[in-house]
């Protein structure tokens, strides 16, 4: 903990006004850190708030969303205190995003090169000529032939669109890259290529990456730190190794058990074996449980679980120096002074 975090999300709370006028807390008390050059996995099932976290940090929530509390410190500056104009100057130059399913994330009537160049020119980083050169360099970096720079998104394959999206995200040399399900619609081989690319650019530019995904396998292969989210809250956060091998939150435990491990499949009995399941479904925004949000599906619930929402407590192996936290009443209460 000697190095100051690049991004520090503290007690972030975001609300949505639903169609029926009800206000729902899509994010509650979300806290995590991203150190420079680190890869952090934001993992959870659909509706757990991982994309909302990204949009809240970037302050790009839709019209019915509203950040009602907490802070987002980027290099010590609270992004939530900035004016809209100041916030705009931080976007892309400090934090860039690779969006999900790059088909719709790219403007269909604008040439790829122009879309990449746009951000460079917008933030006045260089003149037009230099920007064009930079676009060529970026395309080469992500492996798109120069001949295709002036094509339109529909002329690209899914994998190439995602590469173009990555080139675009790198255009202003950000320190932090959010990748929102960057390979969801892609085949495994293309997914492997894209992640290889992520690793390469990270090694080359030393940027930090926050990978938003539902795929526990991808997180295990890519990330140093895992943030497991459930129902708009952080269930568990810690080094990937600890979280995967010593999961503390009942949700993390069940989730990992439900996820098939192909490296183990050769040892399975003939005809396969049933996977562990989690009964029930994740909570809907319009019907959040009053206490712990996992309580209705938890087999180990106790009385307190229905009453109060648990806070994150330190569960790290003493002396390991790692920061491993989980939010569960079974794990005890947070000590005073804990973040």
């Amino acid at each position: 903990m000697t190095e100051p975090p690049l991004l520090s999300v503290r007690h972030l709370t975001t609300e949505f006004t639903l169609a029926d006028g009800q206000v729902a807390r899509a994010l509650e008390d979300v806290s995590f850190d991203v150190l420079p050059g680190q890869t952090v996995g934001l993992v959870g099932e659909s509706g757990c708030g991982k994309t909302t976290t990204l949009l809240s940090v970037m302050r790009l929530l839709p019209g019915n969303g509203r950040i009602s509390g907490g802070s987002v410190l980027f290099k010590g500056t609270d992004l939530l205190t900035l004016s809209e104009r100041e916030m705009r100057s931080h976007r892309w130059t400090d934090i860039a995003v690779v969006f999900q399913g790059a088909m719709n994330a790219l403007n269909p009537v604008m040439k790829i090169a122009d879309q990449i160049r746009e951000a460079i020119l917008l933030h006045d980083l260089m003149d037009r000529k230099a920007a064009d050169r930079r676009v060529d360099d970026l395309l080469e970096l992500v492996g798109i032939p120069r001949a295709r720079r002036n094509q339109y998104p529909h002329q690209y394959s899914g994998g190439m669109r995602q590469r173009a999206m990555i080139a675009m995200a790198l255009a202003c040399s950000p320190d932090l890259l959010f990748a929102d399900e960057p390979t969801t619609a892609l085949d495994v081989m293309i997914q492997a290529q894209v992640f290889e690319l992520f690793k390469r650019i990270q090694a080359e530019f030393g940027l930090a990456i926050v990978l938003v995904t539902h795929d526990l396998g991808v997180v295990a292969e890519m990330c140093d730190v895992v943030v497991v989210m459930y129902g708009g809250m952080v269930a568990e956060v810690g080094p990937a190794d600890s979280v995967y091998n010593e999961p503390q939150h009942p949700y993390t435990q069940r989730l990992l058990a439900a996820f098939p491990d192909p490296s183990q499949s050769a040892d399975l009995p003939e005809g396969g074996q049933d996977l562990a399941t989690i009964p029930g479904t994740p909570p809907r925004l319009n019907a959040l449980p009053p206490g712990c949000r996992f309580e209705p599906r938890c087999e180990r619930r106790i009385d307190r679980c229905t009453e109060a929402s648990p806070a994150l407590v330190d569960v790290a192996v003493p002396g390991s120096g790692a920061r491993h936290l989980a939010a569960c009443h079974l794990l005890g209460e947070p000590e005073a002074g804990d973040a």
Partner: protein, 352 residues
């Protein structure tokens, strides 16, 4: 191949003619054809689960759709319990498409898309009974729908009958789809990526449900998937497809544990494993699957193959048996007689 197979597919090919532009007509160009499925053969025994795996565009979905008559086979034949589907009775035992569709059912990938939003669960599950005029009275129909729902895990059934799809979660929708497939007590289930749209915890439930059905009812399942991570938990046999062809087929454990085809090896090496401690040697193929309109000569995998030799550019390999029922289409894989000699194992070419 065994004659008591539920399903037998022989040399199935499916071609799609490409729509021609006016320019093509003026210049009298030959209509182009996409070979979606190319000379595919396999069989499926009673109570068996065969996984058909591959990347998008490999022809696995087209194959499944063709089996149930949602596509037309260009060549080859499909036999259901030894009876030729849509065949002429003069050529031997035949089964009509209508009867096949009563005894074989398909479950699609997207539970949000495969249910008509304006129908109730009762309408949806009862539809096969209505189409085949199988339930005499409304009461009997209701009873059979209830049974199917309970079997698909929607209990108590009465809670779900009047619901519309938007009132169900993703997992419940897929259960409703499965219930409507079960209502006719089929012998064969074609499951086209039935869990790929579902969250991890829900996915496990649906896979367990399919597994239970296979065990309790002895339903044979053809399981179409792009996810090699889940087949080990579920399938008895695994077939890997690439560009319309089966490149490797065999008992699941044999294929996963000892993949022979370089494509299978690469594919398996990049499946994400939920274990941060495991650092594997990964074979990442460069480029993308070639355009099926312009198939490479010889082995269609050779342009991306890490171990290709000159012969691969000209000769197209057939499936050859390496061990028992494990068959591979690769020139560099030794046939069964040499199977024990490890020196012929292509793994050594790769150094891994």
């Amino acid at each position: 191949m065994s004659t008591d197979a539920i399903l037998e597919v022989r040399h199935l090919s499916v071609e799609f003619p490409l729509r021609q532009g006016i320019g093509d007509l003026i210049h009298r160009r030959q209509p182009k054809v996409v070979m979606a499925v190319d000379d595919v053969s396999f069989s499926l025994g009673p109570g068996e689960v065969l996984a058909l795996a591959g990347e998008s565009g490999c022809g696995k979905t087209t194959a499944a759709r063709t089996l149930i008559g949602l596509g037309t086979a260009t060549r080859g034949e499909i036999l259901f319990k030894g009876r030729r589907v849509g065949g002429d009775a003069a050529d031997g035992p035949a089964i009509s498409l209508k009867e096949l569709r009563q005894r074989a059912q398909i479950v699609f990938q997207d539970p949000y898309e495969s249910l008509n939003a304006r129908a109730t669960v009762l309408d949806i599950v009862a539809e096969p009974l209505v189409v085949h005029r199988l339930a005499g009275s409304a009461q009997e129909r209701l009873e059979r729908v209830r049974l199917a729902l309970e079997e698909a895990g929607l209990r108590p059934a009465d809670d779900y009958l009047k619901r519309h799809p938007h009132e169900l979660s993703g997992g419940q929708r897929q259960r409703a789809v499965i219930a409507s497939a079960l209502v006719l007590a089929p012998e064969l289930l074609l499951a086209d990526e039935p869990v790929s749209m579902l969250d991890v915890s829900i996915r496990a439930e649906i896979l367990n449900l399919l597994n239970a059905l296979r065990r309790s009812r002895g339903i044979s399942i053809l399981f179409i998937t792009h996810d090699l991570g889940i087949v080990g938990h579920f399938a008895d046999r695994l077939a890997v497809m690439y560009l319309g062809r089966i490149v490797e087929i065999g008992p699941t454990r044999a294929v996963l544990h000892d993949p022979q085809h370089p494509y299978t090896r690469a594919l398996l090496s990049v499946v994400p494993v939920p274990n941060p401690r495991l650092r594997r040697q990964r074979v990442i193929l460069q480029g993308e699957t070639p355009n099926p309109l312009d198939l490479p000569a010889g082995c269609r995998f050779h342009p991306r193959c890490p171990i290709a030799v000159a012969a691969c550019r000209t000769a197209e390999p057939d499936l050859t048996t390496v061990r028992d029922a494990h068959r591979v289409a690769c020139l560099l894989v030794a046939p069964a007689s040499d199977a024990d000699q490890a020196t012929h194992d292509p793994a050594h070419h790769e150094g891994g």
